[in-house]
């Protein structure tokens, strides 16, 4: 699976306004909502569900990245948003370090296999130090989009 298959390009934020985890999540979910990716009226419910999931176990998997995600009926297909925050925020990460890059993912409730395939695509790149560095350096939405497209073409990025 490629980024282009599930990332919502209207929801790429080079500098989140948020100063903490929950507002970062809310900001990204509302962008997905504005882009028409969520079922009508489900924005707040989705935000709450993502935060609840985060409370159960942090998706801050270390190295400055977090992948908050849920399965939810508000979406028909997997959709992702990307947000960066240059000052870093606390995500209760496994390595206790701040998070600078967030990939937020909403998967349909009834397709666990697709969720796994998308996670695979995301982690394939996230575990690459160069990709993490490039992502963090992006200054505009266009640069994020270009990086994701480039990653789609280059499995080693």
């Amino acid at each position: 699976m490629k980024f282009a298959d599930f990332v919502c390009f209207e929801a790429l934020v080079p500098e989140l306004k948020a100063g903490d985890r929950d507002s970062a999540i809310a900001e990204l979910v509302s962008l997905l909502d504005k882009a028409g990716k969520l079922g009508k009226g489900s924005c707040r419910e989705v935000t709450r569900a993502v935060i609840k999931r985060e409370e159960e176990a942090s998706t801050g998997i270390g190295r400055g990245v977090a992948v908050p995600h849920i399965k939810h009926d508000a979406v028909k297909d997997v959709v992702a948003a990307v947000g960066l925050i240059s000052s870093g925020i606390d995500f209760s990460s496994l390595d206790k370090q701040p998070v600078y890059s967030i990939i937020l993912l909403i998967s349909p409730a009834d397709d666990p296999d697709k969720h796994l395939q998308v996670m695979e695509s995301i982690f394939k790149h996230l575990q690459n130090e160069m990709f993490r560095r490039f992502l963090r350096q992006c200054q505009t939405s266009e640069q994020i989009e270009d990086l994701l497209m480039e990653a789609d073409e280059n499995p080693y990025l």
Partner: protein
């Protein structure tokens, strides 16, 4: 100083497991796996048909995309290799990560 320890021969053990829970090896199960793997000193490698990854890394484990029914090979090398495999096999196949397994489709 320890004497008489033969550390030259590294114990290598391997086991095949199948993912039983409906949702497969998503992040929470992967974290449970990594948590247990990290309780042991031995190296732990997990492979599907395509990739071999470090069983102690959550990022790498998430790359396996192991769906329900997927067969994985777990290899442990070093101290307490067998104990590590026993614990991991139990987690995957018996506890199936404390998650539901698919309902049987139909009974004849």
């Amino acid at each position: 100083m320890q004497v008489g320890q033969n550390s030259l021969e590294k114990v290598v053990r391997e086991v095949a497991v199948e993912i039983k829970n409906t949702d497969g090896l998503h992040m929470r199960p992967a974290m449970q796996f990594v948590d247990i793997a990290n309780q042991f000193d031995c190296d732990i490698t997990v492979s599907n048909d395509e990739n071999s990854v470090d069983g102690k890394s959550i990022m790498q484990m998430s790359m396996l995309a192991a769906t329900c029914g997927t067969k994985l090979k777990i290899k442990a090398e070093g101290a307490n290799a067998q104990e590590a495999l026993d614990a991991l096999r139990e987690l995957v196949e018996e506890k199936h990560f404390d998650e539901p397994t698919p309902k049987r489709k139909k009974e004849l």
